[in-house]
Each structure stands twice: as structure tokens, then as C-alpha cells.
């Protein structure tokens, strides 16, 4: 066996209205070259102007990653030529990033493990290029999107650990509202580096893997690479320090031919931007913006609400969902039935509508009311489902919906008995069958009574009456 060391470089696009250094829109999916101006196109004479919100969100993230926040942060120029980089240098942070030496509490299969964060720095994204035939087509809409780059220490040992980390990390950035964490659209991107060595020998030669656009692919690529390198080490082959690309179709990594020149980025302090000194008041506001992170919240849900890990995981996956659940519990809902209604029918209904819980008419108060009606036996389960659908789509309370439709459960035994009588008299054959010992038609008869009652009968009671008659 060998030791494996895996580290990650994660880029998250920060959620802001405008770009990092100019007032163009920071928006995804617009027609090419519509969100551009002289600044983000690298025109002569223009200067970068730092976006306050990009700074704020960076610090929120740095703090959530338990980073030490440098007293002074400095922007640097990283020099390299590429057609998608208008100035041919990237403004980033090199020597004095916003945050250093943090950690992230990761969890895999119920086990916590601290992943150290080397640093987190703010930088600008490059444009996009489409390669077709003899030409490459440049679109600079993405140029200048604020990016926070988070670099971990090589603390991962397996691809599974990394996959779990990326899922937890994605939830974290969404909880904090700093990034939407969409790996497919590239708002969250991950490069991995992996090195393998004989036990106790420390890090081996580092191989970097790029082109990983889902957490699953990151796992697959790392597993592939781990095997490839194991085999090489076993055969005493030399592992080249290089960058490899994940080929999603062939499910393997391939060597990216090294660039024509060795890189020397010639970092130096960006003279167009003064250093940034986070002051006490600002840091206080960053502290106030902190929230309980998903992994911690999930574990609290398990103990505080006695939920299974599955339920807790589901409920804490999105912050608004977890908030909804907790307010419902505070509001008097039974924690078990609230969990099961949220994970079951509510989730199903929201999925169909492709909406999150906060984007509908469903409020904690209405949800609580619905569960109360059910608990008190004023409506039955199928009715509750119908009511739920309506209060998601319409601005009405559960009570209102039940009253409007006359869906309250029938409590009156006389009425129920009359229904049963009617059904039994019309279904003589079924009655015969039951009397001869075949209980199968009971369900059918209950169904008939329910139908006759317009769904309002309590099925349990109906069953009681029918079996009583027989």
C-alpha cells in the first residue's frame, strides 16, 4: 500500500450584482460580449475599482473557514498571456491574501475530519473561449467575475472523502449566500492535486487534475489517478509532475502537453489598488453574518430532534429548508411529522414546481396549521395532501382551504352508518364473499364509502363499522 495525499484548489464565483473591478453586470448566460466595458476589456487608461460586496463576501467565507484574517491584504498582478485575459495579467492576491491557515470540518459516513485550509484569496475570473475549427471565439462577459480561490492542504486520502467535502462545501457556500455552488455551470470549480508515495516517505510528485465539473467526476478522476500512480510506483516507474485533464467520456485522465514556456508569473503588488485593512467595525459585521454551517447543523438536528441521519441530511441540505423546519418545530409542530411531511409530500410538490420552499406561498404558520388539522383528526391524510398542494400555490391558509371545500372529516356516526348501509345494499355480492370468509372486498367497500362521503370520511371508522356489520 501507498500513502495518498490530495489537495484541492476551489474557485467560487461570488454572488454580486456587478463585476469585481467595474460596474458591468455579473450575470451568467447573457449573449456574448454584452456585459463589457473599457475596464473589463483591458482598454488603455482604465483602472480597477474594487467592489465592496466582493470583499464582504470573501471575508464572510474566510471567517467561516476559520481563517486567520490578515491585518493587511494586498492585491498582486499575476502575469501571463492568454486571449481570455484582457490585461494579460490577473489581479489576485499572492503574499497577503484575505485569509490564511483555516480549516473546514468535513464529514464522511458520520465521521468528522478537519481539512486544513492553506489560504483564501480574491481574484478576477477570465473570459470564455469556444474553440471551433481554425478559430477560437472569445466572450468577455465572465471577465472580471469575482472569484474566491480556496486552497486546501493535502489532507484528503481518498476520492470519496473529496466528494463528500465538495458536497459539504457546496452547502456551506450556499448557506452563507456567497456563491450558488453550481459545478455544472462553473460557478464553483475544483482542481485537484494528488501525490502518492511509499508509507512514511511524505509527499510524492504532485499531479494536478483539471476539467472536473462535478463532485462525482472529482472522485472518479482521483480514484483513476490513484490507481494509475499505484501501478507506476509498484513497477518502479517515474511519475511525472504534470497537469492532467479528466476526460469525462473515456473516464480517465490524460496528460496535458506542457505549455511552450515554463511559467514565471512575476507576481508583484498591484499599484492600482491600495492595500485593504479590515477594521474592527467591518470584522464585527462579518462576525454577525456567520451562520451555523451545514455539517454542524445536521449533527445538531440528529441529537436535538432525534432524527435519522438521512432526515437530518435532507433537512439541512439547504439553509431555507432547515430554517423552515426549525421554525415549524418552534411553532409547535411535532418534529417527526414535520420532518416526514417536509421530506415527503412537500419535497415532491416543490420538485415538480422546481421551487425552493421560500419561493411559494407556503409559510411556517400555514404548514403548522396543516399538521394541526391532521393531528386533531379534522382532516385525513389524503385531504392533507390536497390542501398542501393548494397552500403551496395559493395565498390561503389551510383552514380556509378546508372550509372552502368542505373537506373537514365527517365525525357524525349516523351519517357514516347511512353511507355504509347504502354501500352494503348495493354490493350484495361483495358482502356474500366476505361472509364466506374472503376478506378481500373490505378495502373495496371502504373505498366506495369514502367516495360517497366525498373523501371526508375517516377511513378507520368506516372500516370499524363495516367489520361490525359483518
Amino acid at each position: 500500500m501507498f500513502d495518498t495525499y490530495i489537495g484541492l484548489e476551489i474557485h467560487i464565483q461570488l454572488i454580486t450584482d456587478t463585476k469585481i473591478f467595474c460596474s458591468c453586470r455579473n450575470s451568467f448566460g447573457d449573449p456574448p460580449n454584452t456585459n463589457i466595458c473599457p475596464v473589463c476589456m483591458g482598454y488603455p487608461g482604465v483602472l480597477p475599482v474594487l467592489n465592496k460586496e466582493a470583499v464582504r463576501k470573501s471575508y464572510i467565507m474566510c471567517r467561516a473557514l476559520n481563517c486567520h484574517l490578515n491585518e493587511k491584504a494586498v492585491f498582486d498582478r499575476k502575469n501571463y498571456f492568454y486571449p481570455d485575459l484582457p490585461k494579460n495579467y490577473q489581479i489576485t492576491q499572492f503574499e497577503y491574501p484575505f485569509g490564511i491557515n483555516g480549516y473546514f470540518e468535513n464529514e464522511l459516513d458520520g465521521e468528522l475530519k478537519r481539512i486544513r485550509i492553506h489560504e483564501a484569496h480574491l481574484e478576477e475570473d477570465a473570459g470564455k473561449m469556444i474553440h471551433e475549427g481554425l478559430s477560437s471565439y472569445c466572450d468577455y462577459n465572465r471577465t472580471g467575475t469575482p472569484l474566491l480561490e480556496i486552497v486546501t492542504e493535502p489532507d484528503f486520502r481518498t476520492g470519496e472523502e473529496v466528494e463528500a467535502f465538495l458536497q459539504n462545501f457546496r452547502r456551506t457556500v450556499r448557506y452563507l449566500g456567497v456563491c450558488d455552488g453550481n459545478m455544472e455551470e462553473g460557478s464553483m470549480r475544483c482542481d485537484a492535486n494528488i501525490s502518492i508515495n511509499f508509507p512514511g516517505k511524505g509527499l510524492g510528485r504532485k499531479v494536478e487534475i483539471k476539467n472536473l465539473n462535478s463532485s462525482r467526476n472529482v472522485k472518479l478522476a482521483l480514484q483513476y489517478e490513484q490507481k494509475r500512480q499505484w501501478k507506476m510506483l509498484k513497477n518502479n516507474e517515474f511519475i511525472i509532475q504534470e497537469t492532467r485533464l479528466w476526460d469525462d467520456e473515456k473516464k480517465r485522465t490524460e496528460s496535458m502537453r506542457s505549455k511552450e514556456d515554463a511559467n514565471d508569473y512575476r507576481y508583484f503588488p498591484e499599484p492600482d489598488l491600495p492595500p485593504y485593512f479590515p477594521d474592527a467595525e467591518f470584522l464585527d459585521s462579518i462576525e454577525k453574518a456567520q451562520v451555523e454551517l451545514p455539517v454542524a447543523r445536521k449533527n445538531r438536528f440528529i441529537s436535538e430532534y432525534t432524527l435519522t441521519p438521512d432526515y437530518a441530511e435532507f433537512l439541512t441540505e439547504e439553509r431555507d429548508r432547515a430554517d423552515f423546519y426549525e421554525s415549524a418545530c418552534t411553532n409547535g409542530c411535532d418534529s417527526q411529522s414535520a420532518a416526514s411531511w417536509l421530506k415527503g409530500d412537500t419535497a415532491k410538490a416543490l420538485n415538480v414546481r422546481k421551487k425552493s420552499i421560500n419561493e411559494t406561498f407556503l409559510t411556517v404558520e400555514r404548514f403548522t396549521e396543516l399538521l394541526k388539522l391532521l393531528e386533531e383528526g379534522r382532516i385525513n391524510n389524503p385531504t392533507a395532501k390536497k390542501v398542501l398542494e393548494i397552500i403551496i400555490d395559493e395565498d390561503k391558509s389551510a383552514e380556509e382551504v378546508v372550509a372552502e371545500n368542505g373537506w373537514e372529516q365527517l365525525d357524525n356516526s349516523e351519517e357514516l352508518e347511512a353511507f355504509v348501509d347504502k354501500v352494503l345494499s348495493e354490493n350484495g355480492k361483495a358482502l356474500e364473499q366476505i361472509k364466506s370468509g374472503d376478506m378481500k372486498p373490505v378495502g373495496f367497500l371502504i373505498g366506495q364509502v369514502m367516495k360517497l362521503s366525498g373523501g371526508k370520511a375517516d377511513p378507520k371508522k368506516v372500516k370499524e363499522i363495516i367489520t361490525g356489520r359483518i
Binding site: P38, M41, G42, Y43, P44, G45, V46, L47, P48, V49, L50, R77, N79, F81, Y82, P83, P86, K87, N88, Y89, S136, C138, Y140, E260, D264, R266, F268, P271, D272, L273, P274
Partner: protein
């Protein structure tokens, strides 16, 4: 000031155009001029002393719908899509941009002969250079083509041509004038400067353009209360042993010091040991920053593009080889070299530390004197192609000017008399926010060293008269 009335009528504009044309045949100071802009004079702003005044801007300062060539083939056909903040503020004060002036390519040079587009001659002697890099602006002002012009000063590029052409040239405190719209050469040194034959115009223009700009985060707030004023009896410092000066400049420097003493001012003799290191420190920092600032010119989004090149990398290399002149290439190479890993500490970091030393030494001087008087350049305007003034020699000669840029302090070059029919300029240094001090100090000499007129010069009255 009849400059305020030269614009506003067709007739005056025609006379003005003719006057510019006459001079331009001899000196070629402008890459583009459009006098029709001032025919209507619609920009009148009441209460503004600058209202209706035409001006020229060095061609590395963005004026919307004018070219922005920076004296380079690389940008020969680029039309600016925006206004520099300084230009915008001048327009708001009622000024009218009429011309873009020639310059050393991207501000790199001390003669304007490094322009890839035009050769500019000195109005005092067309065989001679105007200085640089704001040579076109200095020549246009000296010849009376505009009442003032904007230039840029990274290492003396406003003051040295001002001294070669016999006009005033102000290099403001770093950050006092927004750099937004000034094409960057060396970002931590660059500042927009003002040239004029009239101290009051410089003062008014400076007041119109100064102050913080949201588009330039290195710009500084400049309230009236920040402005330093000259003491009633200011103390001047001069160099004890100025080295390497030509006879004319040496004489002018001594005469001016003597004159100050005659007028009853205290003149102290000082040494500035760090002067021996300022030029290498300056060229290290300036070229390092320039190597990155000029990386954007690669033929992809605007400007010149080579017709060769099968890959983006080849396209960029060919474009940059064909689009840049020798001096620019030299400085890009130098700047790239001093930033390379392994060399950075020896050159770039060291230079930044020397910069700190310069600031400290100057602070010490300003503790005991109000202003420092220095030569602007060791020689007066030299001839085109003068072999004793090689590109290398020109760089070494920058030592008196670059010091102010490295320290970020304001400086003003003023005419200090003509010697052998050529103007000689000297300069004052003041502490930061000392622009008013500089202008008032220049007024001390105003009668002794009046601005002289090159042959063929006409005042605004004479032009329209």
C-alpha cells in the same frame, strides 16, 4: 484672457485654425487637431475662469471620440470610447479639447523622437527636440497654439519638455489628479501634469481637475484645507555640488540661487546622497510596472494586429514585435527581467526600498526648508539625433526629475531665462499637497524670468486680431 473668446465664432475659429496650421508645418506637435469643436462655444459655464478655453491633451490621455495613439503604431487607429476624469472635469468647467499632442511612444523617452508616428520640433529651434515624453504638449503651449495642455509625468515627462520649450510644467502630488483615462506607463509613478505659459492658468486648471475620483482608487481627496501655503519668508534648499550639468544649466542654477539670496530668502546648501541611486531605482520600478501595463496590447481586442500568426501566442508575439518601437521593447524586456523569479529581490524589491530611502531623505530636507530648487534637466534642448545624448545618456540625465515621482511629491518646472537663445528650466520640489507653494514660489521669479516668445509666436489677441 482672450483665449476665452477665441472659440465661439466661425471667423475666429478659422483664424485660429490657420495659426495652428502655420506652426504645425514647422513643429508637428499635434497628432490630431479639431478646431471646429470650438466654433460654437456652447460649453460656456458662467463663473468658470476656464470657460471657453481650448486645450490640448497628450495622446495618452483619453478624450472621447479623439484618437488615443500613445504615439504608437500599436494604437494608431484607436479612437477613445471614453473621457479621462481630468478631461471630463475640464469639459465641465467649460474647456474645449481641440488637439491631441505627440509624445514618446507610451511615454518612454525624453525627446519625443520615440514617437512612432511623428517627429516634433522645438519651437525655438526646429533642429532640436522638444524634450519628452510630453514634447508635443510643451511645443504647442510654447508656440501659443493652446493656453494650456495636459501632459503626463512618470519620471519628468512634463517638467523636462517644459524646460526645453520655456514654459511652466506642473507635476502634481501623486494621486492629486485622477489617473483614470491616463494610459498607464508606471502606475505608481504616473500623474497627469499641466503645462502653460501662465501660472494662473495652471492654478485654475489644477483646481478644476484635482481631487478624489471614484474611478481611481489611488486618487486622493484634496480639500482646500489640505493645500499647503508658502511661508512669508520661505527657506529654499539647493544642491551643494550639482554634478553633470551643462554650462548653461549650471549657470542658470547658480544665478537663480543668487537671485533668491538677493531677494532676501534663506538658501541652504544640501546634499542628497540618494540621488546617485534614483535613476536605477526609477527604471527598475517603472519598467517592471510597464511590462505588465503594456501586456494588454496583444492584437486581440483592439489596436494593431499582425496578419501573421497561426496560434494566439504567435499572433501576440508578432503583433507586439511589429507594433512596438525599440525603446518600448527595451523597457518591456527590462521590466520583465527585473520581475523574474530569482532576480526580483535584487532589482525590484531593492528599488522599492531605495524608494523608501528617498522619501526619508526628502522628509529630512523638508523639515528645515520649504522648497528644494533643482535643475529640471542637465542640458537644454538637444539636437535630433545628438550622439552625446544617446537613449542611455538621456536616462542617466533623469535623476533630478525622477526623484519627485519616486517620492510622490509635487514639482514645478519654471523658465529660468534663455541661454544661447535656448530656454533653460529649473524646478522646485515641495512636500505633498504643496502645489500652491510651488506656484507662489514661481511667482517670485515671474518678473525676473518672464516667459519668452519663440519667433512667430502670437498671443490670442493677435491671432484673432
Amino acid at each position: 484672457m482672450s483665449w476665452n473668446t477665441i472659440c465661439g465664432s466661425r471667423e475666429n475659429a478659422d483664424k485660429y485654425r490657420a495659426y495652428i496650421g502655420e506652426w504645425e508645418n514647422r513643429i508637428h506637435s499635434m497628432l490630431e487637431y479639431r478646431v471646429e469643436h470650438c466654433e460654437q462655444g456652447e460649453n460656456r459655464i458662467s463663473g468658470s475662469l476656464l470657460s471657453g478655453m481650448p486645450f490640448a491633451a497628450k495622446d495618452n490621455i483619453a478624450v472621447r471620440d479623439f484618437k488615443l495613439t500613445c504615439g504608437s503604431r500599436m494604437l494608431e487607429n484607436l479612437v477613445s470610447p471614453y473621457d479621462a476624469t481630468a478631461v471630463k472635469r475640464l469639459k465641465e468647467a467649460g474647456c474645449i479639447p481641440v488637439a491631441k499632442t505627440n509624445m514618446d511612444e507610451f511615454g518612454m523617452g525624453s525627446s519625443t523622437d520615440n514617437s512612432a508616428l511623428l517627429v516634433t520640433n522645438n519651437p525655438w529651434d526646429t533642429d532640436r527636440v522638444t524634450g519628452g515624453s510630453s514634447g508635443g504638449s510643451a511645443a504647442a503651449v510654447a508656440a501659443g497654439l493652446v493656453p494650456f495642455a495636459l501632459g503626463s509625468d512618470t519620471g519628468g515627462s512634463v517638467r523636462q519638455p517644459a524646460s526645453f520649450c520655456g514654459v511652466y510644467g506642473l507635476k502634481p502630488t501623486y494621486g492629486a489628479v485622477s489617473r483614470f483615462g491616463l494610459v498607464s506607463y508606471a502606475s505608481s509613478l504616473d500623474v497627469i501634469g499641466i503645462m502653460s505659459r501662465d501660472i494662473s492658468i495652471i492654478e485654475n486648471v489644477f483646481n478644476a481637475v484635482k481631487g478624489q475620483d471614484l474611478n481611481d482608487q489611488t486618487s486622493i481627496e484634496y480639500r482646500d484645507s489640505d493645500s499647503l501655503s508658502l511661508a512669508e519668508k520661505p527657506v529654499f534648499s539647493v544642491l551643494k555640488n550639482p554634478e553633470g550639468l551643462s554650462l548653461e544649466v549650471d549657470e542658470a542654477y547658480r544665478n537663480a540661487a543668487a537671485l533668491l539670496r538677493e531677494k532676501g530668502y534663506e538658501v541652504r546648501e544640501i546634499e542628497l546622497p540618494v540621488l546617485d541611486y534614483v535613476v536605477p531605482a526609477y527604471y527598475t520600478i517603472a519598467t517592471a510596472e510597464a511590462s505588465a501595463n503594456l501586456a494588454r496590447y496583444n492584437g486581440v481586442r483592439y489596436g494593431y494586429r499582425s496578419s501573421k500568426g497561426e496560434t494566439p501566442s504567435e499572433l501576440m508575439k508578432k503583433t507586439r514585435d511589429e507594433g512596438f518601437g525599440d525603446e518600448v521593447k527595451l523597457r518591456i524586456l527590462l521590466g520583465t527581467y527585473v520581475l523574474r523569479s530569482g532576480f526580483q529581490d535584487r532589482y525590484y524589491v531593492k528599488a522599492q526600498k531605495i524608494r523608501t530611502r528617498i522619501m526619508n531623505e526628502l522628509d529630512d530636507v523638508f523639515r528645515t526648508s520649504d522648497l528644494i530648487m533643482l535643475p529640471s534637466f542637465p542640458v537644454p534642448a538637444f539636437r535630433h539625433g545628438d550622439e552625446s545624448m544617446s537613449q542611455y545618456q538621456q536616462k542617466v540625465a533623469d535623476k533630478f526629475t525622477v526623484t519627485a515621482n519616486l517620492a510622490g511629491i509635487p514639482a514645478l518646472s519654471f523658465p529660468a531665462g534663455n541661454y544661447n537663445s535656448l530656454p533653460v528650466g529649473l524646478q522646485f520640489f515641495a512636500p505633498r499637497y504643496g502645489e500652491k507653494m510651488l506656484l507662489d514660489a514661481a511667482r517670485i521669479f515671474e518678473n525676473d524670468y518672464p516667459v519668452m516668445n519663440p519667433q512667430g509666436f502670437k498671443t490670442a489677441e493677435e491671432i484673432i486680431g
